[in-house]
């Protein structure tokens, strides 16, 4: 499993790991807004990183949990998954 992570998957992870409900279309549209504006805090992002690592069986970049926006996060983890694939 090394597919790219989509905004849909990120939205699903935000709900699962932190209980934050967000419409994928909105997440896409506001992908340069801070995670905090969606109600996701740093522990929530850390939980998402952990969940992705478990799903993909590979460590995420150490900076993943420090990303401020959905776009930054998706770019970083997807480049890492592509490089590792």
């Amino acid at each position: 499993m090394s597919d790219r992570i989509t905004v849909e998957e990120l939205a699903e992870l935000m709900k699962k790991a932190a209980g934050v409900t967000v419409d994928p279309a909105e997440l896409e549209q506001r992908s340069d807004s801070g995670f905090d504006t969606f109600g996701l805090d740093s522990l929530g992002l850390l939980g998402i990183v952990g969940e992705l690592e478990n799903r993909h069986g590979t460590p995420m970049p150490t900076d993943a949990e420090r990303c401020k926006t959905p776009r930054q996060f998706l770019d970083l983890v997807n480049s890492s998954l592509v490089a590792g694939a």
Binding site: K15, A18, G19, V20, G44, G47, N54
Partner: protein, 416 residues
């Protein structure tokens, strides 16, 4: 220039999530009627344990009380705290827009005895069942004693002084006193109290080590303090949050001043040293009365700690006599917690809530399930007693040796 009048800490709102009611009204009606809701523990994974009777909060639906992210990120004890804080703020008519205008004027103080045991157990089961990579990051804060203070302040946007009292069961009263001190020092509003959720398998196993715990299986006989049949205490979940507010600020915005937090003192006499708690509790009462400027004869009702252990009950009866003198044998004493159980830090906060309501309605609620008292106390049993109440004394002791006393005076406004 004249000295400014010292600020006084008023109670302007009460929010309750208790085994006998999910609102202050329901709690008060059941408490006044002396209805016992102690029952066999029904929570999942608990039915094989020797602790069988408790005061459970059965109808509470966390999903209707708090937003989804708090369901995922916090424990049941914090869900109770958020729901009770919402009710207390609504009762005080402090809406979100009012507190948003002055966020630094509002703080939170809670006390917690067991923290988020259910959440912690779930994550620890992940740790040992699947491995460390399956433990969620919210475990780092959800189990913690400070969680409810932090999450209430985050959720409501409060930026005033926040704290947590970790001082045994009596910490519930200490939290109210701490809130009153913060108000006297200049913060306008403190949301203060305690809620607990100790009825989950891990938390219950922790409690089994307490020699004071009742393992009696008959709910009507499991918790009978001040009687010769006393066999320990029954635990409970739930609790209460109060809005403690500067009296003048409250009056200026037209809020009802329900009561004034007039005096408090705390002492320590060692874990399970119940004989020594006599002196400790008496000294706490002395200190609380002195701070309140209250003579012993002015105390109209005592809400007892009522542990249900013979040595502890004797020590409490003697402490009341030591501190109040001859008045100690005449003053009505009650322990409504025999009908709902003892919710650790939350127990004395529920007693403080009941004391405020008792003063407002001029009624002393009874002590359920208690008949033949074997101490020299005027314990109110069977049914409520009408009485003009201006001053209430609330007592609490912790299993680890803390003793606290709180003096509440009736507010100027009458029954709501």
């Amino acid at each position: 220039m004249s000295e400014p009048t010292p600020r006084r800490a008023a109670v302007t709102g009460i929010g309750v999530i208790a085994p006998n009611g999910l609102s202050t009204d329901a709690f008060w009606k059941a408490t006044r009627e002396g209805i016992s809701v102690l029952g066999r523990i029904t929570r999942e994974g608990c039915d094989h344990l020797p602790l069988r009777v408790a005061g459970e909060v059965r109808a509470f639906e966390p999903a209707t009380a708090v937003e989804e992210r708090f369901l995922v990120q916090t424990d049941r004890f914090t869900h109770f705290a958020m729901a009770a804080a919402d009710s207390a703020l609504e009762d005080a008519r402090l809406g979100q827009s009012a507190t948003d205008e002055a966020p630094f004027s509002v703080g939170v103080v809670t006390a917690a005895g067991s923290g988020g045991g259910e959440f912690g157990q779930r994550e620890l089961q992940q740790l040992w069942g699947k491995g460390s990579r399956f433990v969620g990051p919210y475990q780092s804060i959800a189990w913690f004693y400070a969680a409810s203070t932090g999450q209430i302040s985050i959720r409501r946007g409060f930026k005033g002084p926040c704290s947590v009292v970790a001082a045994d069961e009596a910490g519930g009263l200490d939290a109210l006193a701490h809130a009153a001190r913060a108000v006297r020092r200049g913060t306008d509003v403190i949301v203060a109290g305690s809620t607990e959720a100790p009825l989950a398998p891990y938390s219950m196993v922790c409690q089994l080590g307490y020699p004071e715990l009742s393992t009696e299986g008959d709910p009507d006989r499991a918790y009978r303090p001040f009687t010769s049949a006393a066999c320990g205490f029954v635990p409970a979940e739930g609790g209460a949050m109060l809005v403690v507010e500067d009296e003048d600020t409250a009056r200026e915005r037209g809020a009802a001043v329900r009561a004034v937090v007039a005096g408090h003192a705390a002492t320590f006499t060692g874990a399970s040293c119940w004989e020594a708690s006599r002196e400790g509790l008496a000294r706490a009462i002395d200190g609380a009365l002195a701070e309140a400027g209250c003579a012993p004869e002015e105390v109209d009702v005592v809400f007892a700690d009522a542990l249900g252990v013979p040595d502890a009950d004797r020590a409490e009866a003697l402490a009341i006599a030591d501190a109040l003198g001859r008045h100690g044998r005449r003053v009505p004493v009650t322990a409504p917690k025999t009908g709902i159980g003892r919710g650790y830090c939350a127990a004395p906060v529920l007693d403080a809530a009941a004391a405020v309501l008792a003063m407002e309605y001029g009624v002393i609620p009874p002590t359920p399930n208690i008949f033949d008292i074997c101490h020299d106390l005027d314990l109110v049993t069977t049914r409520a007693r009408a009485a003009e109440l201006r001053t209430a004394l609330v007592l609490s002791r912790g299993l680890m040796g803390s003793n606290s006393a709180l003096v509440l005076r009736r507010g100027a406004t009458g029954a709501p």
